[in-house]
């Protein structure tokens, strides 16, 4: 999945937008937080100092978002289940 010819590696940054780019591989990202996650996950080796700390912070934010998403997903599942149960009871 690497190489310039790979269509899966094609990027399009909208004109007039300044993307944050990875200093290691040059890939553009929408914000610092995603960049921090990318550096922490794709270039973990030798990551230290501020990038390391940024990765930790981004991970924490991500975990918070995921926790909330899981709650919503669980709520969605329960809702779906009871909606169908009710439908089957009525029909």
């Amino acid at each position: 999945m690497t190489g310039a010819d790979d269509p899966a590696e094609a990027f399009e940054v909208p004109t007039g937008v300044e993307a944050v780019t990875c200093p290691e591989c040059g890939r553009p990202f929408v914000d610092e937080e995603v960049l921090a996650l990318h550096r922490g996950r794709a270039h973990a080796e030798g990551l230290s100092g501020e990038p390391r700390a940024a990765f930790e912070r981004a991970l924490e934010a991500e975990e918070t978002w995921l926790r909330r998403f899981r709650l919503k997903a669980l709520g969605g599942l329960v809702l779906l289940y009871f909606a169908l149960l009710t439908l089957y009871a009525l029909v």
Partner: protein
Amino acid sequence: MSGPRGRPSARRLAPAIGALLAALAAVPPASAHGGGLGAAARSSLTIPTWLVVLTGGAAVGASFLLASFVTDYALIRAIDGWRARLPDPGRVAVLLGRLVGLGGLGVVLLVGVIDPGPGTNLAVLLVWVGWWAGYTGSVYLVGNTWPVLNPWRTLAGLLPSLDRAYPERLGAWPAVVALLALVWVEVASPVASDAALLATLVAAYTLLTLAGAAVLGAEAWFAHVDPVARVFRAYGRVAPVAREGGRLRLRLPGAGLTGEAGGAADVAFVVALLWVTTFDGLVATPAWRRFAGLAVGAGLPPAVLYPLGLVAGLVAFLGVYRGAARWARRTAGTYRSAEALAVVFAPSLLAIAAGYHLAHYLGYFLTLAPALATAATRPLVGLTSAPTLALPPWFEFVGMAAVLAGHLLAIWVAHARAYELFPGRRQAVRSQYPLVGVMVFYTLTSLWIIAQPEVPVPYT
């Protein structure tokens, strides 16, 4: 709920194999009631069709929510990367496979030339029941054996080749066009029941394929142009057994659906495969019959109805899929191009196509397998009666389950691809919203088609 695919398609049966089923309907009720599957299912089932369809859509949505609970990069990689080594098939097995392929081709041509007369015969049953229904199933359920079995590849290997370079800019487009053409012939001509016509078309295909392989070299021809080889390669990516790195390996179903580098044309081929599989079922529904009647009534020549329908449907399917990929860029928050997302997520559609193929053809295959076996013992005569298997009424749920299983696998594959592609888990989850929306919509559509009563295909 009526007209399950457990009952073989009226179109394929027409008129030859249809006689077999008519004979089946005449046997005493105890053994026949599976044959009149539609009627039996209608009386035993009290759940309305729309609710079954809705439940299927809900199951796909729910499975997305469930998959989103798996958020560990390492775990997802481990599941997708699991492999076990299998013993390599010996040279004898490969040789045997090649002989079986050549033998099959020989039988189809020979029976067609002899033309055994009225009724059905070995050539028709072998191609549609044995090969297109049964063998294709084995490709996505077990593994792609077509590179060995493919009789045209075996023949092309014996012929000299000019080895001209394949024009790379054409990509998979010739295969896309050829796939649509094949399905057009299959749907709109009596090739599904006429052994002589079938043999003529197979002979024409043989000449074309051997000529193409002689110009481009067998390797390039079967890799780029030949639609049949490409279809089996695509289905084989769903299968648990595959040759990876020169060795035979066991993997989890769908683990081969990683983003093999491709371009717009490869995406189009995958979408085309999904579309033609759907189209195959769609043309036998009353809704298509009404639509075709309206279109022809409004002045559309019947001859262009099917080619136009095939192309228009592919454009619509591609439009929806590419639209979902563009939308996923926004929901995920990524600068990867829409094209990149389309390429990465396209293979997950193959699981859906396989599930739909199984739903469409498993009952057909099981019902007519005994007829195929009988024909094999009497290859040179037309059969007006042959044994068929009566399927129990609950069998239609196997079809529904196959559609659902294909979608569930696709949900997982897309989920795993998202984690491969995006550094952020929030991105990975959010990238799935449009795709899951499209998948739920497609589940509803295909379950609805499966639940339709089958009618003869109009204007053919």
